[in-house]
């Protein structure tokens, strides 16, 4: 590896990471305007055209507000909490594929930070580290609401990790690989002549499980028990100041984006356009980098769709009760995940590998 490669890789990493961070301000306005749209009210429309500068105003407000760290907290863990949530949320981005290759100085580079052989295991492993931040933050706040919020968040996230893992296991079973890149590559072209060759048609039940677990893992609304504003003030971040709240908020939206990107890469063909193979596209476009651009745009459109679904669900479905949430995970999703594995294995055994 030469030093030019190193520079290109570093710049590429920075661009992809900053791109993912941009999800946060965009989602801030999309979420609030989306909520307003669904509830039939105008929403934030004063700052800039259509309220588009609202995120900037929000960020400035957060920065300029007074920093308070209450007297009763455990200082070190309290300060560490938000960053221990943000770091894992950032690190997952490494495994996500956004496109095939681009060429620069006659060399080709992947449009992905790192093509890890253990891709999906890496995602699951790093993804679950975020709990530590929530638990540290909630416990160190020394506030009963924070503690209850943190306990709920932990038990919810670890419970839904199992169906998430089982759904991912079904995907590994049908692709025969851990690498997200190879999974996307396997989804090119058409299936049975009419359908796009996407993972969802091989793993419909697996996708449903993954989809539900993704909402619980990101603490989004049907499952936002950790921060129920009506009963727990704000849950685990009750005692935090504006910027720390911003950090938790950022981590939550980045987790949403990574979950959407995972669903796109595992079940919805990643960078592939439906029905059209990459070779045909390359012939039509004539340039490798133009194709790369198209692929990145495809991924962004698909991820945006899932982000909109996250917002849509948040403002449509009421919240679960805690025992209902646990019952859903342990009594329904885990058995369904096992059944999904058995069905997939049996189909492969009797029909041969598809």
């Amino acid at each position: 590896m030469e030093w030019t490669d190193l520079i290109v890789i570093a710049v590429k990493t920075a661009i992809i990471y900053l791109g993912m961070v941009q999800v946060v301000p965009i989602m801030l306005i999309v979420e609030r305007r989306g909520a307003a749209f669904i509830q039939d009210r105008p929403g934030p429309n004063r700052v800039g055209p259509f309220g588009l500068f609202q995120p900037i105003a929000d960020v400035i407000k957060m920065m300029m507000k007074e920093v308070i760290s209450p007297r009763q907290v455990n200082k070190a863990l309290y300060l560490l909490g938000p960053f221990l949530v943000l770091l894992p949320a950032s690190l997952i981005v490494a495994a996500l594929p956004f496109g095939d290759f681009f060429t620069l100085f006659d060399k080709s580079y992947m449009i992905q930070i790192a093509n890890l052989d253990v891709g999906i295991l890496y995602v699951l492993a790093i993804g679950s580290l975020g709990i530590y931040g929530i638990l540290f933050g909630g416990w160190a706040s020394n506030n009963k609401f924070s503690l209850i919020g943190a306990m709920r968040a932990t038990s919810q996230i670890i419970s839904y990790e199992i169906p998430l893992g089982l759904a991912a296991c079904g995907a590994v079973l049908s692709y025969g690989s851990f690498s997200l890149r190879e999974m996307v590559m396997a989804q090119e072209g058409t299936l049975l002549g009419a359908l796009p060759h996407w993972g969802i048609f091989y793993q419909p039940l697996g996708f449903l499980l993954f989809f539900i677990a993704a909402f619980a893992e990101t603490n989004r609304l049907p499952f936002d028990l950790p921060e129920t504003e009506a009963e727990l003030v704000a849950g685990f971040h009750t005692e935090y100041g504006p910027m720390d709240f911003g950090t938790f908020f950022m981590a939550e939206y980045m987790n949403m984006a990574t979950m959407s990107a995972l669903m796109v890469s595992i079940y919805f063909g990643g960078w592939h356009l439906p029905w059209i193979s990459d070779a045909t596209l390359l012939e039509g476009l004539g340039s490798r980098n133009l194709l790369a651009l198209l692929q990145v745009l495809t991924v962004i459109v698909k991820i945006s769709f899932f982000m909109l679904v996250f917002v849509w669900v948040r403002w449509t479905i009421p919240r679960f009760r805690f025992d209902q949430l646990m019952r859903l995970a342990w009594k329904n999703l885990i058995p369904l995940g096992l059944i999904n594995l058995v069905i997939t294995a049996l189909i492969f055994y009797f029909k041969g590998a598809i």
Binding site: I9, T13, A14, V21, M63, M64, E66, V67, P70, R71, Q72, L86, L87, S90, L91, A94, I113, A114, N115, L116, W139, S141, N142, N143, K144, L147, M151, T154, S155, I158, S159, E161, I162, L166, C169, G170, V172, G176, S177, F178, V233, G241, P242, M243, D244, T247, D323, M326, W330, K331, P335, L338, L341, V342, A345, L346, F348, Y349, G352, A353
Partner: protein, 120 residues
């Protein structure tokens, strides 16, 4: 190990972002602490005791069961990886998995019967 090098870069960038957020918070925000600002916020009511109180063992049980089931689920991954390639060698791997899953389901049924998670 070379595949993990960019992950190192990413870690550095993420760390820089964290440090940046921390510094911004420290530098820009005003500080004017008074006693009531620094007290526990529990809906404005004077707090009763502190939060270092015992909590339900229910949560502890969930953690223990998670540990069991997540480790068991993790054993499915290597099996899933090689399953398609080993189809030609007969049903040995399928049967092995079904037996293993049988034990797992037995454990799950036991939890439900004992009502460990207070689901009912």
């Amino acid at each position: 190990m070379e595949a993990f090098l960019p992950v190192g870069f990413l870690f550095i960038f993420a760390l820089l972002l964290c440090i940046g957020l921390f510094t911004v918070k420290r530098l820009l925000g005003p500080r004017n602490p008074i006693a009531s600002k620094l007290s526990v916020y529990e809906c404005g009511v004077a707090p009763e005791g502190n939060a270092r109180a015992p909590f339900k063992t229910h949560f502890y049980l969930i953690a223990v069961l998670f540990l069991l089931f997540d480790v068991e689920a993790a054993f499915f991954f290597p099996w899933a990886l090689v399953y398609k390639e080993s189809l030609a060698q007969g049903p040995a791997l399928l049967i092995a998995m079904l037996v293993y899953m049988g034990f797992l389901v037995l454990g799950l049924v036991y939890i439900f019967r004992k009502d460990c998670l207070r689901l009912n």
